[in-house]
């Protein structure tokens, strides 16, 4: 008995066609998030969060704004890949799975857009 699916045999492209693309990007974004989260958190917690003026002034500087944009994009990407795996593993109904996967992409793209837009408003 073969463990390969009929479609897999016909396509003859090995594991999934894309190979290790998903796995690799998840690792790349994970590594990138180590310095990004640490530097952003240290920078953020050094300010008085209750002060509207101080927070605006902080994010209108080039480096904090740049780190924030990179953080938002990398977080969104890493999170999208992770949520995708969770949905693929635990949701077995095909319709629900497809709907959730699409919704997750929409939410992540929207969140990244809102985040970057907010930083641009603050920085420019």
């Amino acid at each position: 008995m073969s463990l390969r699916t009929p479609l897999g045999k016909v396509l003859g492209r090995g594991a999934a066609g894309e190979g290790v693309g998903h796995w690799w990007v998840q690792r790349l974004t994970a590594v990138a998030l180590i310095p990004l989260t640490v530097s952003f958190a240290i920078s953020l917690l050094g300010h008085s969060l209750q002060s509207y003026e101080e927070m605006r002034a902080w994010l209108s500087q080039p480096w904090p704004a740049l780190i924030a944009i990179l953080l938002i994009l990398t977080l969104a990407w890493h999170s999208k890949l992770g949520v995708q795996v969770v949905i693929e593993d635990y949701v077995h109904d095909k319709g629900a799975k497809t709907l959730l996967l699409i919704s997750s992409i929409f939410v992540h793209v929207a969140a990244a857009a809102v985040g970057v837009f907010a930083i641009l408003v603050l920085a420019l």
């Binding site: 008995m1 699916t5 998030l33 180590i34 917690l45 977080l75 999170s79 969140a111």
Partner: protein, 132 residues
């Protein structure tokens, strides 16, 4: 579902605490995703103006906001620490059972300490006496 054998057969394994660390990685990842959405909402409030930001900070300083902050912080920190453990495994290191158990214990202790440290700094940055 396909009639071919499916893996993993979770039911045949004896329970080890490293298993709960593994599922906790996924759970904290999902909570961190919600935290990311909250972070973006907070940034948008800051970009929207003084009143919107004051509202956001009032919500974050309230009982529900504090509970969420603790949950998000722990989830981010645990996922961060255990993520580094996963990255080390990806290089082929630390995969022996004893090593994996020891690194698991280190991750748990480090997560709790780091969460407390971050929340302590967050409290002073937010001008709060304590998180509770």
């Amino acid at each position: 579902m396909a009639s071919r054998p499916l893996s993993p057969h979770l039911g045949v394994y004896k329970f080890m605490y490293t298993m709960s660390l593994s599922i906790l990685h996924r759970i904290t990842g999902c909570v961190a995703t919600v935290g990311f959405l909250a972070f973006v909402w907070w940034l948008m409030a800051l970009a929207s103006g003084r009143e919107q930001y004051a509202t956001a900070m009032r919500l974050l300083s309230g009982p529900v906001g504090k509970l969420l902050l603790v949950g998000f912080t722990f989830s981010f920190v645990y996922h961060f620490c255990n993520g580094i453990r996963h990255l080390l495994w990806d290089t082929g290191r630390g995969l022996e059972r004893a090593q994996a158990r020891r690194s698991g214990a280190i991750v748990v202790v480090a997560s709790v300490l780091l969460t407390a440290l971050v929340l302590w700094f967050a409290c002073s940055a937010m001008g709060m006496e304590s998180i509770v």
